[in-house]
Symmetry: C2
Subunit: 198 residues, 2 copies
């Protein structure tokens, strides 16, 4: 499948590398080379791996017409680093980055996914032993199906994918970040993920 | 131990019942009977099980002098129900209810705990099979030790208690609520808890 990856930071690199590794034709768009539009035009499906506070601008630069009707996997966290560490969120509680993106690009089929863990775990869930979960959220059931298929190509078992419902559920996925940071501090490692134990 | 439980809703009832069941002398303070002060005076340790948006007022009614030097276990979530369901938070991101309480009552030894799960799981962790976690946060190490001892009396294994650090880490514990709500919706049950899998 032709996939466009927007963002060439740590997350963009590892996502693009994994997608290529499992056989997809990947084009990466970067801010420095103004290639968001090229990557988006290439992709039948698009990953947003840009910094959350710049995601809307990056997607505008990619072009609304290049997103129309396409699945847009939003991996970004809206980290506000302006107040020092640990970061706060630039949007939360009564809104989320994924909702902002969906409102701004109503014809894109936004699916929030993979933002709840370290980048290495995203593409290699076997780094964490046993069962653990990857929540997803979005309005479009077929889009979520397509993302679930990609996640399985990444190594996520089908029953590790938890569909939280509509795009509003992205709030919870983004607001989980401070707990993730706290746990990382407690464990001294980012090599973990959550499991919803029942 | 003499323990005061502020709040007689679902959470206050189940916490008070469990504390009594494991041998503590419990006094419950309720708003309707204006007995916050009596319960706080009784307690060598105090549980805040009031509704989060009313917690500061309830603790003021209990009286600052009754909280001085005491461990104050803050179980509350700052749920804003005024905008309908699902609730948003009345404070988050750059502050938390636990931090507000600690600032308002600087001589209380605030420990955030147990707000990350359903009330039944709080006092009976064996409802959820296998290992799962109860994060705690607070400035006072001895206070956290005391809370950890109580949690073990509730049935939490020592290695299920995750100390996230100072009271600021309560933000993550409170901001986890929307993800918890999303997972509850996906599973159709509140009988779950998170495990940080490593």
């Amino acid at each position: 499948m032709k996939i466009g990856v927007l963002g060439s930071g740590t997350v963009g690199q590892i996502i693009a590398g994994k997608l290529a590794g499992v056989g997809h034709q990947v084009e990466v768009g970067t801010r420095s080379e103004s290639t968001y539009g090229t990557a988006a035009a290439h992709g039948e499906l698009i990953f947003n791996c840009t910094a959350g506070t710049g995601s809307i601008d990056a997607l505008r630069a990619a072009g609304e017409e290049e997103l129309r009707g396409k699945v847009l996997v939003d991996v970004a966290n809206p980290l506000d680093l302006s107040k020092g560490m640990p970061p706060t969120l630039s949007v939360c509680n009564d809104d989320s980055l994924a909702e902002q993106i969906q409102r701004e690009f109503p014809e894109a089929r936004v699916v929030k996914a993979l933002n709840t863990m370290n980048h290495q775990v995203m593409v290699d869930p076997s780094r964490v032993p046993g069962q653990h979960h990857v929540p997803i959220a979005g309005e479009d059931a077929a889009a979520k199906e397509q993302v679930a298929t990609l996640l399985q190509e990444f190594g996520w078992p089908a029953d590790s994918i938890v569909d939280l419902g509509g795009i509003r559920s992205a709030r919870g996925m983004e607001m989980y970040l401070p707990l993730w940071l706290g746990a990382m501090g407690a464990f001294g490692s980012a090599d973990f993920n959550i499991r919803f134990v029942r």
